[in-house]
């Protein structure tokens, strides 16, 4: 057994690392990537002045947003108005508590037993992530309701209805993955994909899960809550300065979390390739420091691909109409998800 002090230090290290990487690096860089790709797609430059290639643009924007006047418009319900951005950031911070970002490792012999590269080893892992990401609907609903603006209310209503509708489809798609791996512990789900990734038996589930996470994060083609031609920017119309920045930050870090979940559930986490493990090419991801780093980087690369997919889709596809959006969620994805559970169950029993 390890020394308790070292374990606590290790825990704190993981928290500081994960928190600063997601909030301090991934989210700002994603915002820059989003704007840069938007520029390139639309045949213009996008931000390229601040720092090398414009990489420091988000940092400059953050400083600018803090220095802006903290406006509180008249007629807002002030306590709730101030609470809403905080309620948006907290689920974003909590949601990566159980995400494993690498294999169990001894860090090149620093520990006697392999330690999990995961902030909290909860036995309810996947359910915890689903719970916490669905909490983000409270921030959105409260922001719209507290704002004393009809655009905000409509945006918040649309956002809430859409987030809860697609959560059903996503939940049922996840149930089939739980059946395939027999656990809700994300570490075990990754280990069960050592031979065959879940994308192959669970392809239908992935087809349901992918649109569902786009709708849950309110991204194009499902960005009805922010449809700027109809609703200004929806639920955060009355938010400016850093309060708007907090909504923005939480949107991008939740995007990071759901991309990581998509990789962990369907694309084998840090496993090398379907049917080919790290051990097969002579890399020890558990006991060697470099091996662990390679596995973590491979996982990060997969997550980066999914993050890029978010941006790519946003600047390629047009927006749905609201009745089409709800129709797709309830009449197409939900029946497919139920059907898919039966198919996988039947396949596992009779084949």
């Amino acid at each position: 057994m390890e020394d308790t002090t070292i374990l606590w230090l290790f825990l704190l290290g993981k928290i500081v690392l994960f928190f600063s990487v997601v909030f301090g690096a991934v989210a700002p860089i994603m915002i820059w990537v989003e704007r840069r790709v938007a520029g390139l797609v639309q045949d213009r430059y996008g931000p390229n002045r601040v720092g090398p290639f414009g990489l420091l643009q988000s940092l400059a924007d953050g400083i600018k947003l803090i220095l802006k006047e903290p406006l509180i418009p008249q007629g807002v319900r002030k306590p709730y108005y101030l609470l809403a951005p905080i309620l948006a950031v907290v689920p974003a911070a909590l949601s990566f508590a159980v995400i494993p970002f690498g294999p169990p490792t001894t860090l090149g012999g620093m520990f006697e037993t392999p330690q999990r590269l995961q902030i909290a080893n909860l036995n309810v892992g996947l359910i915890f992530v689903m719970t916490v990401t669905s909490l983000s609907v409270y921030g959105v609903a409260l922001a719209g309701w507290a704002s004393n603006n009809k655009f905000s209310v409509m945006g918040a209503l649309r956002a809430s209805a859409q987030m809860i509708s697609y959560e059903l489809a996503a939940g049922l798609a996840i149930v089939s993955i739980i059946m395939l791996s027999g656990s809700v512990d994300l570490m075990r789900i990754v280990e069960s994909q050592a031979g065959l990734w879940h994308i192959f038996p669970g392809f239908l589930a992935f087809l349901v899960f992918l649109p569902a996470i786009y709708a849950e994060t309110n991204r194009t083609p499902f960005d009805l809550p922010e449809a700027e031609a109809e609703l200004v920017v929806g639920y955060h119309t009355e938010y400016s300065g850093i309060k708007f920045g907090l909504f923005f930050l939480s949107e991008y870090s939740i995007m990071t979390t759901v991309s990581a979940i998509a990789v962990l559930l369907f694309f084998g986490g840090w496993n090398l390739l379907p049917g080919l493990n790290w051990a097969d090419i002579g890399i020890d991801i558990q006991n060697s420091m470099i091996g662990t780093l390679i596995a973590v980087s491979w996982f990060a690369a997969k997550v980066a691909f999914f993050l890029f997919l978010f941006v790519w889709v946003r600047w390629t596809l047009p927006r749905f109409r609201y009745d089409q959006l709800m129709g797709l969620g309830w009449k197409t994805l939900l029946p497919i998800a139920i059907f898919n559970i039966l198919i996988i169950a039947g396949f596992m029993v009779f084949a």
């Binding site: 803090i66 008249q74 950031v89 059903l168």
Partner: protein, 125 residues
């Protein structure tokens, strides 16, 4: 080690709240202030705001929320079934667990069909 594991969640919760509160406080302290009354008015493309924010909204939103609660609880009921699925398969009771889950999903689908027929899922009426 349960307390150890949940303390990680607690620390993240505190960090999240601190990020939110800290950013808003920093903005209150550092932000510039040049006040004039027009700045405070609700956003409406530069003209006086039309229409109140607390008007009636479509009852569909309420119905979606109600049916969400039903379906979400049923999804949660499916999770233990899914976790135990492989154990039943290994002990040779696969057919039993398959039909139990199938029956549950059948009832769930009946509910969905009922909603559909009642027009609850049609937004363009």
């Amino acid at each position: 080690m349960q307390i150890f594991d949940y303390s990680g969640v607690l620390i993240l919760l505190i960090l999240g709240v601190l990020t939110g509160v800290g950013a808003i406080l920093a903005s209150e302290i550092l932000g510039s202030r040049r006040y004039y009354p027009r700045k405070d008015s609700p956003y409406e493309c530069g003209i006086p705001s039309e229409g109140a924010d607390n008007t009636r909204f479509s009852v569909k939103f309420y119905l979606v929320a109600v049916s969400f609660i039903l379906f979400d609880i049923e999804t949660i009921f499916l999770v233990p079934w899914a976790i135990e699925f492989q154990n039943y398969l290994q002990s040779g009771e696969g057919i039993f667990i398959f039909f139990i889950g199938g029956l549950f999903l059948f009832v769930l689908t009946l509910g969905l069909i009922y909603e559909w027929r009642k027009g609850l899922l049609d937004w363009n009426q």
